[in-house]
Amino acid sequence: MNLCRVLGTVVATEKHPAFHARKILVVQPLDEKLSPIGTSFLAVDNTSSAGKGDVVLVLHEGNGARQVLGDKQAPIRNVVMGVVDRIDVGSR
């Protein structure tokens, strides 16, 4: 899993049935200082509370994604698993 910021949403009417009634978010990967790194991508929201600007926890693994979505055949790999309240990065 990694940290991402929610940039917005994608609206799609014509889509694979596995995506029906699911919210698709545009997310930007972040480093430990919450600065953007790499390219944005899309993820399905499993928290139903992640909104634009939130820092979220995103899983990038299909088996785990299918497990939490309860669909053994879902062609979905990126799922938002949590909304991050705070991260503490220690300096030792």
């Binding site: 940039l7 917005g8 994608v10 799609a12 694979h16 899309l42 299909g62 062609p75 790999r77």
Partner: protein, 87 residues
């Protein structure tokens, strides 16, 4: 999953078993500003897309799960047509 724009079609007569009915499209992956990211790729169309359409794709193993039959050698599939990106 990522955004992409369909930029063309791919005609491919001789193909492996399992991909007989598959429709191949050439897609340019995009970021959230709809700027091109990386090289174009060939994706199986599972959402009846056409050239010029903004779509979203699934990659890796999950792309094959979008296909019917699903146990096929596919690493990129168009799984939806984007109406709007609100960022």
């Amino acid at each position: 999953m990522y955004l992409g724009k369909v930029i063309g079609t791919v005609v491919c007569t001789k193909r492996v078993t399992g991909l007989e009915g598959a429709r191949f499209l050439l897609v340019q992956p995009l970021d959230h500003h709809q700027k091109p990211v990386g090289p174009p790729e060939v994706a199986v169309d599972r959402a009846s897309a056409s050239p010029g359409t903004l779509v979203f794709l699934e990659g890796s193993r999950e792309a094959a799960l979008a296909c019917d039959p699903w146990f096929v050698p596919v690493d990129s599939a168009i799984v939806g047509i984007v109406d709007e990106v609100d960022v």
